[in-house]
């Protein structure tokens, strides 16, 4: 039985190859990926997602509430206050989303630096998905209701005028046919003022009405 030889306990070729590959990969990681992770760290700190989100939120508010100014909205007491309220809510929501996105990015970088997880970029994606705030929704709904009431009023007016016109025409036709209903208490068209003539005394009701349809 011979003495144990140190050479028998040397690293095998397989072990050496594995170690060489590990070392090469590690060097490559350090040269190629570490700078990227540092870049992600700097981006996550410097990138202002809140600005992007706020800009979008504000654009949404203004588009929804000031896109088509109306006289009714201008005359209303609370539309300006509603606009301010909606814009404030939307901006606050946007700033919140931007901050959350920024934090998520920063935590992702830290997790990666600590070797605990992969880095996932969420900040910009979040900034693009600002939810419409309740205040903007309420203000938009109010504006829509106001415009709908004006439209409905216009339609009612047009229909009323059209009905009056039809009634007058019918009555005139009866008069021409020699039907006198004065005994029944119905006034003859000749006694009526020009207001009840078709088109409210010559005003083109149909033309006005079309605007509201």
């Amino acid at each position: 039985m011979s003495k144990p030889k140190a050479s028998a306990y040397k690293a095998s070729e397989s072990e050496k190859a594995t170690a060489s590959i590990g070392l090469a990969d590690k060097k490559f990681f350090r040269e190629a990926y570490l700078p990227k992770l540092k870049e992600a760290r700097d981006t996550s700190e410097k990138q202002d997602y809140t600005g992007v989100a706020e800009g979008r939120g504000n654009a949404d508010t203004m588009q929804a509430l000031t896109d088509r100014p109306t006289l009714a909205a201008t005359r209303s007491v609370d539309s300006s206050a509603n606009l301010a309220s909606a814009a404030t809510g939307q901006a606050a929501n946007a700033f919140f989303q931007g901050t959350v996105g920024k934090r998520e990015d920063q935590l992702g970088v830290l997790k990666n630096a600590r070797g605990l997880a992969n880095t996932a970029t969420a900040g910009l994606a979040r900034a693009g998905k600002i939810e419409t705030s309740n205040l903007l929704a309420a203000a938009t709904a109010k504006e829509t209701r106001r415009n709908a009431m004006i439209k409905a009023g216009g339609r009612l007016g047009a229909q009323f005028a059209s009905n009056v016109g039809d009634a007058n025409a019918f009555e005139q036709a009866e008069t021409k046919a020699g039907i006198d209903k004065s005994e029944d208490g119905v006034r003859k068209s000749a006694d009526q003022g020009s207001f009840f003539e078709k088109g409210f005394g010559g005003i083109d009701i149909a033309g006005r009405g079309e605007k509201y349809t």
Partner: protein, 192 residues
Amino acid sequence: MSLGYIRSTYAGMYGNQRDNVSNMEQVNDPEAAFADITRQDYDDYLNNFRAFEERLLDATNDTSIIDNARENAPKQSKIAEGVAKRNTERYGGAGLSNVQKQEQQRAQQRGGKLNLAGGVNNARIQQRQVNQSTLQELIGIGQGVNNSAMQGLGDSAAMASQRRNAYGQAKANYSSQMTGLGTTMLLAAFGV
């Protein structure tokens, strides 16, 4: 299929890779290389990410959302006021009486104050939500770091213990061998 055929086939398939591996830096002492890399990794972390981690830990006391809400409410009221003013001008005064104008202004002021109060209150809740969530994540990271550190320490302690036991065993073996050898020599000397 002969062994020679397999060898030549694999040599053809992986010839290039084998060349690449043989051109790599030789590692004669993997343990020392591993120790170096572990040290380098930690240095990299300290140099590049420790300050970042500390800033993130400080961010759990962030108040930026609340501060922004305080600044933003008056700004938005002013913008809305401007919009209303321009619209009124666009409609040639919009037939508003002085009383209506005053009421509009009052509504604007009231809305502005309400926005400020409500906005800051909501911002406080949102800020708390963000800070809490950051803290939870950081605690999770800390737990991971702690576990990894404990594992490293545990491995080191286990290895040290193994070495100590092996050394004790070797000493006991040596002592036993020496005793055996002495006994044999004594017996041989006395011709037993």
